[in-house]
């Protein structure tokens, strides 16, 4: 009898758990306004290809009160007990989180094997831009785990291969004849000078406006010392102002935690926006920025503020890897819809570790 009771209890529990999904939507207000994923726009083509359904699924998941409660009820006790683990997140000194795949060189052999393809790509890119009279400048964005190595690795220290990665990138770029901006020393100096000022967010992989400004100042200094004239057009001073970004910390999201449940990560995400741009619609913006999520947060504004001229950020495409923005920029150049004299490429250190971006060499950018 008890055995039968147990089976029936299991069935009832199962059905109640299944029913919790639709019931939570009917009884509680869906957290649609807080959802980090927007509702997809309908199109027949997207429906046919299944993209509408998959985007809709993601939206429904992220807007579901039940899923958010389940996530936090599951993950929060584990976090508090120090048992939470993730293949994507490395736990540093509290409350600092780091993107785990960027904290070590998992496949050194691939890094060596793809060297010639990377060099070919850099050289081809430089050549392509030179033909159009454009100077290429690569701004190497150091990983958060490098700037905050003490908080990430603690006493064990940064692994040897990872420690050498940054210099490897610099040397390869320089070997290809590309002008590189290396802001690492200034990041470290900025940390030393004002330890309370955060250059990266503790629960996010990205930099803060303060970090952006350090990098932008470094970029301008490098260009000026290289004899590249800046601040020509429009002749008025440009200011950048902080703006609030509607997003939750990505590393906290990767842990499946609701940041609103965690005081230590309940920090407004900020970006920068450009102010005082008086360039007319026909003005020729001399600086173009290509990049991803780091640039998306207003790095163009930080550069504009530092050098005094506007920056075209149509080549900033977040969430699509390091090449997408550059591909878009090259496309705009070929279409002659963009005619800068200077192209700044935001290049995140950890992208060197992802072989998929380098396998095709110059062809990845549509170059020969």
């Amino acid at each position: 009898m008890f055995a039968r009771l147990g089976k029936h209890c299991a069935l009832v529990s199962f059905l109640l758990l299944l029913a919790a999904g639709p019931m939570s939507y009917l009884l509680f207000d869906p957290v649609k306004t807080r959802a980090s994923v927007p509702a997809p726009d309908f199109s027949w083509e997207d429906l046919r290809r299944g993209e509408y359904a998959s985007d809709g699924e993601e939206y429904l998941r992220e807007s579901s009160s039940l899923v958010r409660v389940l996530r936090s009820v599951y993950s929060l006790p584990l976090l508090r007990a120090g048992l939470l683990e993730s293949p994507l997140v490395r736990f540093g000194s509290e409350p600092w989180l780091f993107y785990r795949p960027g904290t070590r060189v998992a496949d050194p052999a691939a890094l060596i094997r793809l060297r010639s393809r990377r060099l070919n790509m850099f050289s081809a890119l430089k050549l392509e831009l030179e033909k159009r009279g454009i100077e290429l400048v690569v701004l190497l964005v150091p990983d958060k785990s490098r700037v905050y190595a003490d908080l990430c690795y603690g006493r064990e220290g940064m692994p040897r291969l990872k420690a050498g990665l940054y210099n490897l990138i610099l040397s390869e770029l320089r070997q290809a004849g590309v002008r590189v901006v290396d802001p690492l020393a200034d990041f470290r100096e900025a940390r030393r000078r004002e330890p309370a000022k955060q250059l990266y967010y503790p629960g996010d992989t990205h930099w803060t406006p303060a970090g952006m400004r350090v990098a932008a100042a470094d970029l301008v200094q490098e260009l000026e010392s290289g004899g590249i004239p800046l601040g020509g057009e429009p002749g008025e001073s440009i200011l950048a102002d902080k703006q609030l970004l509607q997003r939750s910390p990505d590393l906290v999201d990767m842990l499946g935690l609701d940041p609103s449940w965690l005081a230590e990560y309940r920090q407004a995400q900020e970006g920068l926006r450009m102010l005082g741009v008086s360039a007319g619609p026909n003005s020729r913006v001399g600086i173009a920025l290509a990049g991803g999520s780091f640039s998306e947060r207003g790095f163009a504004a930080a550069i504009a503020e530092a050098c005094g001229e506007p920056v075209d950020d149509r080549g900033v495409l977040p969430g699509q890897g390091p090449m997408a923005g550059l591909r878009e920029t090259l496309y705009l150049l070929r279409q002659e819809r963009l005619r800068p004299r200077l192209l700044v490429w935001e290049f995140v250190e950890r992208s060197y570790l992802e072989s998929k971006f380098w396998l095709r060499g110059p062809a990845e950018l549509g170059l020969r």
Binding site: F2, L18, L47, R48, S75, E85, A106, D107, A110
Partner: protein
């Protein structure tokens, strides 16, 4: 739609089950067909149309095959086999063909690649078995178009099996009973499968994936990766099957079991009688025996085994590594047969036979998991100590759950009864423990990102 997704568990399944159970018996097949197509079209509407087209052809051909006139019946059979195998060949193997031509000719062809429709290997084989069985007069054709649609598109087993024979389900399509016993058994089986996938397979992937991502892993890492993958693929696939069987029971269907503790096999031959049993028996009945089976000379038997295993390997995926994997299994089966079959292992204590078999299987799984021949060579070099001990990056990871999954996984595989037996054990504690595991799995599901089933590729 994926069984281990929130949209399935919290939206599709409760709404579908409510609609299905509230429907009068005569409307249950239409509801099942509709639900199955919604389930499949959620992935891609155009491929749902392809499934419908393929099913319609199979139904029409089935009627033709069941008719009179041997020549006409044979023509229908050849037509439907050609069409279905043609579709499978196009969607699954054309990319491999193009890649091979490109690499042999060192020229890039103007080809964008074909997207593989989910479960096409499963529903194609199911359709072929239906037509062949009707041709052999072993089974009556489907009494209606709807029955045929339900049989081929039934969502519990549509995308990853088991491969169901029409004869085993024909009566259930006409009349089936849903009672409290089958409902509770189905719920428990679904929860066990769900937990296997989420708590074991997905955590084991945390150990296996980083190793297989390396070009040249060290000795210890390589073996940890291989041992983790051997469990991962078992829990992934058997977890899916448990869920499929559980869903079947919730709908009143008794689907065939697909696994029988395969790692307790004491020989490779026995392994294939315990692993993915519906595929093994399909290959035996529709390929090995028609080729001549073991009726001819020893050489012919070896040839038939080799052909069956090579094609069986290629069925798993469009890559030369799968062909190699099938070839290795074929070679092992031939060696076993030549060395005396079961008598070969009979001289050894059973645990030793099981361990030897498991070792051979694990070595073969490397071929199955490797992305290409280059990484395959790297893994074997690592496993046999050619790349040193390695930096042991796996040991640096904070992956306690993954290590726990490895330990628990081996206990489950070698010491515990299989899922279908667990749900029959009279106990109050076991069902409640299963609910607890399900709750934990839901928590893990919500807190981790989407992870598709390995077998969806096939």
């Amino acid at each position: 739609m994926n069984f281990t997704s929130e949209i399935f568990v919290f939206a599709f399944l409760p709404i579908f089950l409510l609609g299905y159970w509230l429907s009068p018996p005569r409307l249950r097949n239409p509801v099942l067909a509709l639900g199955s197509y919604v389930f499949y079209a959620w992935w891609r509407v155009d491929f749902a149309c392809l499934l419908l087209l393929s099913s319609s052809l199979i139904y029409v051909a089935g009627r033709g095959i069941a008719g009179e006139g041997e020549a006409r019946r044979r023509a229908w059979l050849l037509l439907v086999l050609g069409a279905n195998l043609g579709l499978l060949a196009y969607f699954k193997y054309v990319d491999l063909l193009i890649e091979t031509i490109e690499s042999l000719s060192a020229q890039a062809l103007d080809w964008e690649g074909a997207l593989l429709p989910l479960g096409i290997s499963f529903y194609t084989f199911q359709g072929i078995s239906y037509c062949v069985d009707v041709y052999r007069r072993q089974v009556e054709p489907a009494r209606s178009y709807l029955d045929c649609i339900c049989y081929l598109a039934m969502f519990p087993q549509l995308v990853a099996g088991p491969i169901v024979r029409f004869g085993s389900i024909r009566a259930q399509l006409i009349a089936r009973r849903v009672d409290l016993e089958s409902l509770s058994g189905g719920a428990m089986l679904f929860m066990i499968g769900f937990s296997k996938k989420l708590l074991l397979a997905d955590n084991l992937a945390l150990l296996a994936d980083p190793v297989f991502a390396q070009s040249a892993p060290g000795l210890i890492d390589a073996w940890i990766g291989v041992l983790a993958f051997a469990l991962q693929i078992y829990f992934d696939f058997s977890g899916y099957t448990d869920m499929a069987l559980g869903l079947g029971l919730l709908l009143g269907f008794r689907l065939p079991e697909n696994f029988n503790s395969p790692y307790l096999a004491a020989s490779i031959g026995e392994f294939w009688r315990r692993w993915h049993m519906s595929l093994s028996s399909w290959l035996k009945d529709y390929l090995y025996i028609p080729l001549g089976g073991n009726r001819g000379s020893r050489l012919m038997t070896c040839r038939n085994i080799a052909i069956t295993m090579l094609l069986g390997g290629l069925w798993h995926g469009a890559s030369w590594t799968f062909l190699l994997w099938g070839g290795l299994h074929g070679a092992l089966l031939i060696c076993e047969r030549l060395a005396g079959g079961p008598a070969l292992y009979a001289r050894l204590p059973q645990p030793v036979s099981i361990l030897i078999t498991f070792f051979l299987l694990s070595v073969a799984w490397v071929i199955f998991r490797a992305d290409d021949l280059e990484s395959l060579v790297g893994m074997y070099a690592g496993m046999f100590g050619c790349a040193g001990l390695g930096s042991l990056p796996l040991l640096e990871q904070r992956a306690g759950f993954a290590w726990a999954a490895l330990l628990v996984g081996y206990v489950v595989v070698f010491l515990l009864p299989r899922s279908a037996e667990v749900i029959r054990i009279p106990s109050l504690v076991i069902p409640l423990f299963i609910v607890l595991l399900f709750l934990l799995s839901l928590g893990q599901l919500a807190s981790t990102s989407y992870s598709p089933f390995l077998y969806y590729r096939f």
